[in-house]
Every structure is written in C-alpha cells, then in structure tokens.
C-alpha cells in the first residue's frame, strides 16, 4: 500500500535521505528508530507531501505522491499525521478541533461532523473533554486530541512523528496506549519513535535509520536481538 523506491531528499547541500527503498503493507505497523538527524521524520513528511523529494518515487495506494498532478489535499485525507509538538488548534474546542476538517474538507454536515468527532474523542478517552479548549488539556490529552483529529478523516494510514518525545514522562503511557489500541484495531501505521519498548512490542517490523540510509529492517525480535549491522548494534547498545 506504500511503496517507496530509491527516495532521495536534500535540503540544499544536505543529503538527508539517500536512496530509501521500503514497502509497507496494509495493516502493518512499522516502527522507525535511529538517532536525531538520521532522516526518520523527513521520511514521514515526504510520504504525505509536506516536503518535496529530489529523486525516486513514493506511491500510496497506486497514487504517485510527488506527481505534479496529484491532488495532495485529497491524498492527505488518507494519511493521518500526528506530530511531535501536539499542534492542537488553540482557538477551537476539542470537539471543533476534530470536527473542523471533516466538515470543511469532506463536506460533512455540522451535526454529522460533531457526532463523529465526539465518537472519535470517546475512542481516545477524551469523551468528557468535548467542550474544553486545548489550554485546559495536559500534553498527553492534547496528543490524544491530535490522534482523534487525524482519525476523524478516516485515514487508511497513520504517520506518527515522535508522538511522545515532547511529553512529560508520566504522560507518555496514555499516548502509547492509544497507539497500541489503534494497532490492535488493524490500522496501518508508521511510527517514528524513541520508545524502544513500543517498537519491540507493537510493531510488525522495525527499521533502523542511520545518516539517511535505512541500515536494517526486520521483525523486532531479529532487529533487537540479533542486529546485523554494526551501526544498529552501536545504536541499540546506547539506548538500552
């Protein structure tokens, strides 16, 4: 369902992704690990077209993301994204945060959008916060709000960009639990993460990125227990 071939991304002279080849199947959960600056987050931005690419191709369900004729606004409805900074819209209530895009992008009626939004918020455990504004929510709650907002567009794939990195340690758990729940429900997910426990327990495969190259990819037991690449071994010894 996602097919990436020979992807190159440069920021000026900086070569951030150096020929990535990767396929993610429907229902698969892929975790992407690696140190800062290895290109993991950039990969996600390239997948939903928030960043341009310099070479190669990314196909989502047979749509070429970076083809000039691709309607990115339409494509992005299929690709939910959750950011490191939670990015809730501060001037809207939780319910409005979630209901806005279905209403103005998908053309749902106000009542339909609100009803579905409250279902999504219930789903992520924010059923009692519908009318709260983001400033009254904790970081973990705001991040779950961001997940509900992405889910409301009924995406077929969710991209998580270090969704827990900016959270206080005691709030990480509730967000990871929500992500686990999505994985159990069969959502296709690509999770850039520093949570090795999550990567090990939840993912079908784990990819290790090092300086713009995908060094290694495989089932979590293989990657964590018997890493093939020297860089992977070095990285894992540091984070464990």
């Amino acid at each position: 369902m996602i097919d990436i071939t020979n992807l190159h991304k440069r920021f000026g002279p900086l070569h951030v992704l150096k020929g990535i080849n990767l396929t993610v199947d429907k229902g698969e959960v892929l975790s992407v690990i690696g140190s800062s600056g290895s290109g993991k987050s950039t990969l996600l931005y390239c997948i939903n077209g928030l960043e341009s690419i310099q070479d190669g191709s990314i196909r989502v369900d047979d749509t070429e993301v970076h083809h000039p004729k691709t309607d990115l606004n339409r494509l992005r409805q299929k690709l939910g994204m959750v950011f490191q900074q939670w990015n809730s819209f501060p001037h809207l209530t939780a319910l409005e945060n979630v209901a806005l895009a279905p209403r103005i992008v998908k053309g749902q009626s106000k009542s339909e959008a609100s009803e579905r939004a409250s279902e999504q918020l219930n789903h992520v455990g924010l059923g009692d916060k519908l009318d709260s504004y983001p400033h009254a929510l904790s970081g973990g709650q705001q991040q779950r709000l961001a997940i509900a907002r992405a889910l409301a567009m009924e995406p077929s794939l969710m991209l998580f960009d270090e969704a827990t990195s900016a959270l206080d340690p005691e709030l990480v758990g509730e967000v990871l639990d929500t992500m686990r729940m999505l994985a159990r429900e069969g959502m296709t997910m690509i999770c850039v993460t520093h949570e090795m426990g999550f990567a090990r327990d939840v993912s079908d495969r784990v990819a290790y990125f090092h300086q713009g190259i995908m060094e290694e990819i495989g089932p979590p037991e293989q990657l964590f227990n018997t890493p093939q690449s020297e860089h992977t071994r070095a990285f894992l010894s540091k984070v464990r």
């Binding site: 501060p90 895009a101 504004y133 400033h135």
Partner: protein, 226 residues
C-alpha cells in the same frame, strides 16, 4: 486669576459639536478600514520578500518606513499641499482620509506581520496534514489566531485614528476640533470649548475601548476573553 467662565455659548453649540464628532468618527472609521486592508497587503508583501527583493517589496517597505517614522502632520500636509504641487487638489476630507489611512496602514502592517510570525509553522502543517487547502488553513486556523494577537494593537490604532483626526483642523476639515476652533474664535470662549471637546474625545475613546473589550470577549472565549 480673574477669568470668568462662560459655558452658555458652548452648551448652546453642543448639538453642533456632537454632529461634528460624527465627522470625526466617520473619517477615523474609514481610515481604519482602509488601513486594515492596505496594511494586510503590505504585511503579506513584506513577509514574502525571503531574500528576493522585487519593486513591490521595496514599495511596501518604503510605505511602512515613511508612515511610522515621520510626523503624521507631515503626512497630512503631503496629501494636502504636497500633491498640490503636481496639480492634484484633494478636498479637506480626502486629505485627512488619505493621510490617516496611509499612517494606519503602515503601523498595522507591522502589527499584522508580527501577528503572522508569532503563529508557529507547525499550525500550518497540522492543518495541511488533515487535507485543508492553503486558503482553508488561513481562513480557519491562521487568521483567527492572528486576530487574537493583534486585537490590542488594533484597538490602539482605532483610538489613535480618532485622536489624530483632530489634525484635520490644520488642513481645513471641519471635524470636532475644527468646528470647536471655528465656534471658539467667534465667541472667544476658547478654554470652555476645548474643555468640552476634550470630554467628548474622552467619551468617544471610552466607548471604543468598551466595544473592543466586549467584542473581544465574544471572539476569544477560548482564552477567557481579552
């Protein structure tokens, strides 16, 4: 101090003064509306410079610099007497309107620019990532937040426009101050006239501040009003 106050002539002219204050409000309101529209355009032009300077960007920067760094009176005189040198003769009303709009646009452009730059990029990305177009993102996400940021400076500018319109007197526009000057010169009750006019200005400004606070309360409930 053997000055005898005579309020009677002023009281008799109160209806005329109140009518003249409508002229004050009218020219101030129109210049604020023009100032907002032009200021927004100038801010967008200036923000889009990004190292590549086109004549349009120079135009925006020159406008902003002149409006903010020269006396308002000079700006009015330019539209009044400066343009006359090229054979352009504006009516007193048009001189005040042009001068104040020019000035407001310059100040508001910088307020708007600051407002836009205070909204993190990530808000834009988040909105685009759920499929909103650039236009929808600005309309539903960016502009409402910018409005919140510029609300106080904008209110300030409205007050400023009302007070600055009194300079209209010097280019022959009969607004509140101009009228007061006219009546005072015929009765010699100068102090009495200007004391009353000062009170009228004070009341106008208080009304504007109250309206701004009430509207702000409705618009920005999310943050407990302003």
């Amino acid at each position: 101090m053997d000055y005898n106050f005579h309020w009677q002539p002023v009281i008799g002219r109160l209806p005329d003064l109140l009518l003249a204050s409508l002229d004050t409000l009218q020219v101030a309101a129109l210049s604020i509306v023009l100032g907002i529209v032009i200021g927004l355009l100038l801010a967008i032009l200036r923000m889009n410079a990004r190292g590549r300077w086109t004549p349009l960007q120079w135009f925006a920067v020159a406008w902003i610099e002149i409006a903010r760094n020269t006396p308002v009176l000079f700006q009015l005189f330019f539209f009044g007497f400066g343009l006359g040198a090229w054979g352009w003769h504006l009516s007193p009303f048009m001189i005040v309107l042009a001068g104040l709009s020019f000035n407001c646009a310059g100040y508001l452009a910088e307020n708007f620019r600051g407002g836009f730059q205070s909204i993190p990029d990530t808000q834009y990305r988040a909105a685009r990532s759920v499929g909103m177009s650039a236009g929808q993102t600005y309309y539903h996400i960016i502009i409402p937040q910018v409005l919140r940021k510029v609300w106080h400076p904008l209110t300030n500018q409205i007050v400023w426009a009302v007070l600055m319109s009194s300079l209209g007197m010097l280019v022959g526009y009969q607004e509140l101050t101009g009228s007061a000057q006219y009546f005072a010169s015929r009765t010699y009750r100068i102090f009495e006239y200007f004391a009353v006019v000062a009170l009228i200005y004070y009341a106008l400004v208080k009304l504007i501040l109250m309206a701004s606070r009430m509207l702000g309360w409705r618009l920005f409930r999310s943050e407990g009003g302003v």
